[in-house]
């Protein structure tokens, strides 16, 4: 179930964040001092949580269809959580790309 739909798309974002981490983005001295962990690690953690929410939503919907989940609201709430965390992740990604493009446009 983990690779259905949006979860697959998250996988590619995960690769992107690992590439960022390998390139040393977010690994600056100051970033480590402030957060204790790098920005790339934080983003990676967020991707993992979002993926977990997607898997939970998938499971809840399958459970509802097969009669294992008795509360309808459980499945709906799981789906809503998955949707919101995906929206948050997409917003974070948009900000990241926007700041990258801003830096690339900089005159030298």
């Amino acid at each position: 179930m983990a690779t259905i739909g949006p979860a697959g798309a998250i996988g590619s974002i995960g690769q992107m964040s690992r590439a960022l981490e390998a390139a040393g983005v977010g690994g600056t001295h100051q970033a480590r001092e402030v957060g204790g962990s790098s920005f790339a690690q934080m983003l990676g953690g967020m991707i993992d949580t979002t993926n977990a929410q997607q898997v939970a939503a998938d499971r809840a919907i399958v459970g509802l269809a097969t009669g294992q989940v008795t509360d309808v609201h459980e499945a709906i709430i799981a789906a809503e959580k998955a949707r919101i965390s995906l929206e948050i992740l997409a917003e974070m990604r948009n900000k990241l790309v926007a700041s990258y493009q801003e830096i690339m446009r900089m005159q030298i």
Binding site: M46, T49, D71, H73, E87, I88, E91
Partner: protein, 144 residues
């Protein structure tokens, strides 16, 4: 901060929804058994009532800021008020005097309880939607 603590409000409302659904089940069972004179334990059916308690802080819905973690159903207790005695000598369960012990279910108070449960469910659903809208509106700060 973990992302799941964002959803603490939604998880708390979910516990409320679950508790009200169980309450509704209990009311439905009382109404269904309003005329039941035989039970598995022997004797007349006794009205059931739900007891709710504050959820333990160790549950996954516990907020990161020391807020509560919702409600849970502590137990379903039996209402011990005496049964309603109805004179019906032809009934198979009538005693020597011709009286039948009918359940202590008052259908009117069950209907009121049912409305209260359904409104309380709505209230929890509204709180959940409000918590969700707050998260979504905080996302829209960055736009425009």
């Amino acid at each position: 901060m973990s992302i799941s603590s964002l959803f603490a409000g939604m998880d708390i409302s979910a516990t409320g929804l679950r508790a009200q659904r169980v309450r509704m089940d209990v009311v439905a069972n009382n109404i269904a058994n309003a005329n039941t004179t035989r039970t598995a334990t022997g004797g007349v059916y006794q009205r059931q009532r739900i007891v709710m308690q504050e959820a333990q802080a160790s549950s996954p819905a516990a907020g990161a800021t020391g807020t509560g973690s919702g409600v849970q159903v502590a137990s379903i207790e039996v209402d011990t008020t005496p049964p309603r005695m109805v004179y019906d000598p032809g009934h198979p369960d009538a005693d020597n005097g011709g009286y039948v012990a009918m359940p202590n279910v008052n259908i009117i108070s069950e209907m009121v309880d049912m409305i209260a449960a359904s409104r309380a469910y709505e209230a929890n659903a509204t709180a959940l939607a409000a918590a969700k809208d707050m998260i979504r509106s905080s996302l829209s700060i960055g736009k425009a």
